[in-house]
């Protein structure tokens, strides 16, 4: 690039800086999908109305993307003091405006209370959930209203792009990303720069750049939160990648289930275009790049690269053999870079802060941070971002606050349907791409589903196989038929029809399915079964030999019973039972007819006296 364009691109960004950023006094309200379900949009409306009423419209209200601590929604952060309020209701708003925003006083009932010390904590960074996190990618959500590009400018948005276009050659960009050691956040952990280099060198035009936002792993939603909360970081990363590989056409492939992500990305793309950051002649440098959004239509397999290409091309998402790589022949048989949403969001950071900074975070083989969704039977559910190498124990106990109801930890499932269940004995495992693989699981896109002693590991394996049975595209026989048969065997075991030799049969079939399938969906399909057999074999044996489900989950192996001492005969369970299996006179101990009972759980959920137990 010439010196002229260098000045030009900076001048444009300097101009933009004139009107950027939220005002000094502002309130960030989480409007991510989780908080919305708790009613955060109503809280936001109430806040805006109240500010108007009290003539305080100089206070800015940011409807931000996900702030992470989904357990405690709706939450808000009041700047400049950064007070963190959670579980806020509409009725709290007048008081918040008057006291906190108006006078800077805190309202202690809205603050987070430390569950052990009972001390009230004022700011995000004081909370155990946030304290040990390193939120370099995800933490910016709190400063951005995704519908306002100015907010992104205020946190150095598009500075990396300006730097790349004015000061760096494509080769320099690739070598910087390589030096940083950025690995793909979508599952496999393939080095991003190697893909980029391949596409840069590959023959064939046009070249394509794609962001994979088909976050299909059940239990993972970090990509959703980035696309919804900080769409410009993904877009900026893609433009930098496009410049590096020499592409003018980009796609973002978004899951059908994420309408808000599509909406926010579309707005962001338009805003970037309006500001000369996307489209023809970006920042006056002569480089052009455009991005189109493609919506998925509900097929897990479309997260796989070649299936995703087929879907963008308008066909059924069936993977193809990989002896020809996507870097040479991907979308429309042209050289294609496909990276996950979170990977793209890391790119501007590497350019801004440097490869050395990035490489100083994490472990030997896995650099930077990773966002995980911490969900399941855990006290503090939500999204966390930690340096690679943080141990499972720190994540689950220090940040996650341990298991709900004080129950016993049993396993944590990572990697979605391609991953596995990791037992208590491995809680000290530092989490990175390679260590997770070593213990029979994988990183996947970062879902961590915590399970306690009421989760049955055979049932979990059955659940994943059923998932994969439905999602297999049907192209390869070993996957289509093998997964189906394995799923049937697991159904049988859970229903009490398991036979001696079933475990060994599952192991044999696992090898066949893994070896005989083209894509990663089939290739890793047996992982949930193999990892649960590896660490929880005795649970399989209890199902098969003793016809017993130790966790009390598998319906065919359990019975519902009433504790005579606890039952008060209140009759609530009789009313909720859909099959009329519970009988008894008022104020006398009730009984359950297990022939009629379907083990639906309605009575257990409704009993206030914990009188119904599973045997």
């Amino acid at each position: 690039m010439s010196g002229n364009t260098d000045k030009q691109s900076h001048a444009i960004l300097d101009n933009l800086s004139l009107y950027y950023g939220p005002k000094k006094k502002f309130v960030a309200i989480c409007a991510g999908t989780g908080c919305r379900a708790y009613g955060s949009l109503k809280v936001k409306d109430a806040l805006q109305a109240e500010l108007k009423k009290q003539n305080m419209t100089y206070v800015d209200v940011l409807a931000t993307g996900c702030l992470g601590f989904c357990e405690k929604g709706p939450m808000m952060i009041i700047h400049p003091d950064k007070y963190f309020y959670h579980s806020v209701k509409e009725s709290d708003i007048p008081e918040i405006v008057e006291k906190t925003i108006g006078k800077g006083e805190v309202i202690s009932r809205l603050l987070y209370r430390h569950p052990e010390t009972q001390k009230t904590l004022f700011r995000e960074e004081d909370l155990p959930f946030y304290k040990k996190q390193l939120r370099v990618v995800f933490g910016k959500n709190g400063m951005i209203d995704p519908s306002r590009i100015e907010d992104y400018f205020a946190i150095d948005g598009y500075q990396a792009l300006a730097k790349v276009l004015s000061e760096m050659t494509p080769e320099q960009v690739i070598s910087e990303v390589k030096k940083a050691g950025l690995r793909g956040r979508g599952g496999g952990g393939f080095p991003a720069a190697v893909k980029w280099e391949g596409v840069r060198k590959a023959a064939g035009e046009p070249k394509y750049v794609i962001a994979n936002g088909d976050e299909g792993d059940p239990g993972a939603y970090m990509d959703r939160s980035l696309m919804e909360g900080n769409p410009h970081s993904v877009i900026e990363g893609m433009i930098i990648g496009a410049y590096a590989v020499g592409s003018n056409h980009g796609y973002i492939y978004v899951r059908n289930e994420y309408p808000l992500a599509v909406e926010n990305l579309s707005k962001a793309i338009q805003a970037a275009k309006d500001n000369g950051l996307l489209g023809e002649n970006i920042l006056g440098t002569g480089f052009s790049f455009d991005i189109q959004i493609n919506k998925g239509a509900g097929a897990f397999v479309c997260g796989e690269s070649s299936a995703l290409f087929a879907s963008i091309e308008g066909r059924a998402g069936e993977p193809r053999a990989k002896y020809v790589h996507a870097v040479d022949r991907g979308l429309y048989d042209k050289p294609t870079v496909l990276n996950n949403v979170e990977t793209w969001a890391n790119v501007p950071l590497i350019i801004n802060k440097g490869a050395d900074w990035f490489a100083s975070i994490g472990t030997e083989g896995s650099k930077g941070t990773k966002i995980f969704s911490l969900v399941g039977k855990i006290n503090n559910t939500g999204l966390i971002e930690v340096p690679m190498g943080t141990t499972l124990y720190e994540i689950i106990y220090d940040m996650g606050g341990g298991i709900t109801g004080g129950r016993k930890f049993k396993a944590v499932q990572t990697g979605g349907p391609s991953g596995g269940c990791i037992p208590e004995s491995l809680l000290d495992l530092p989490v990175d791409f390679d260590r997770l693989y070593d213990v029979g699981s994988m990183m996947g896109s970062g879902g961590m589903i915590v399970m306690d002693d009421t989760s049955c590991m055979v049932d979990v394996a059955r659940y994943f196989l059923e998932f994969l049975k439905e999602e297999s595209c049907g192209k390869c026989v070993p996957c289509r038929e093998g997964v189906r048969r394995m799923s049937e065997i697991l159904e049988d075991i859970c229903a009490g029809r398991g036979r001696e030799g079933d475990i060994e049969l599952l192991e044999t079939m696992s090898t066949a399915v893994a070896d005989g399938s083209l894509c990663a969906l089939g290739g890793s399909a047996p992982n949930p079964v193999l990892s649960t057999i590896r660490y929880f074999r005795e649970e399989y044996e209890a199902h098969i030999r003793d016809h017993r489900c130790p966790a009390g989950v598998c319906k065919g192996l359990i019975s519902y019973n009433i504790d005579e001492e606890k039952c008060t005969g209140c009759g609530v369970c009789v009313k909720v039972c859909a099959t009329k299996a519970i009988t008894g006179e008022l104020k006398k101990v009730h009984t359950i007819d297990n022939d009629k009972c379907t083990r639906c759980g309605a009575c257990i959920q409704s009993c206030k006296f914990d009188a119904i137990y599973v045997k």
Binding site: C70, A297, I449, C473, V576, A578, G601
Partner: protein
């Protein structure tokens, strides 16, 4: 009153919006599904002709992706999340309840056309599990009692109309 627009005309309008390109098959089907709440046979035939794509390819895409339905769907679509986080928090129990209360299985629609029941492999609101999405509204930490209340509420609203 203006004359209601025919399925074929509406379909041709949608195809035209995407510039008759073959790669737009899925986008066209998505728009059709949104317009008609399912994929009418006539719409698929018209789309195939207008896009110059064999009907077999349209049908392949329409049946491959779970977001598409060849049958009319109910006015209220109940989607039960079956993601792992929801599963370990009892999604299967909720599914049982919806099935018995509505008298339909996933993929089915009630006789009065009010409800369709579907399962989704994770809606990405895992912290709220178990989650049920009704039309576009998310319901978090759903219990069996909540299921009954939700259905009652919708039935009441419908009855009042």
């Amino acid at each position: 009153m203006t004359k209601p627009i025919s399925v074929a005309t509406k379909t041709r309008q949608i195809v035209k919006k995407y510039g008759n390109t073959k790669s737009a098959v899925i986008a066209v089907l998505q728009d059709l599904q949104e317009t008609f709440n399912y994929l009418p046979k006539e719409a698929l035939k018209t789309a195939a002709k207008a896009m110059n794509v064999p009907m077999s390819r349209i049908y392949e895409a329409a049946t491959f992706y779970t977001a598409f339905s060849l049958e009319p769907r109910g006015k209220h679509v109940v989607k039960i999340c079956k993601g792992t986080a929801c599963h370990v928090r009892g999604a299967a129990i909720l599914q049982d309840r919806f099935e018995t209360t509505l008298g339909i299985k996933p993929g089915g629609t009630t006789k009065d056309g009010l409800f369709s029941l579907e399962t989704v492999n994770c809606v990405g609101a895992c912290a709220l599990g178990p989650v049920v999405v009704i039309n576009t509204e998310y319901h978090g930490q759903v219990t069996i009692n909540k299921v009954d209340k939700i259905i009652k509420k919708i039935n009441k609203e419908e009855g009042a109309q």
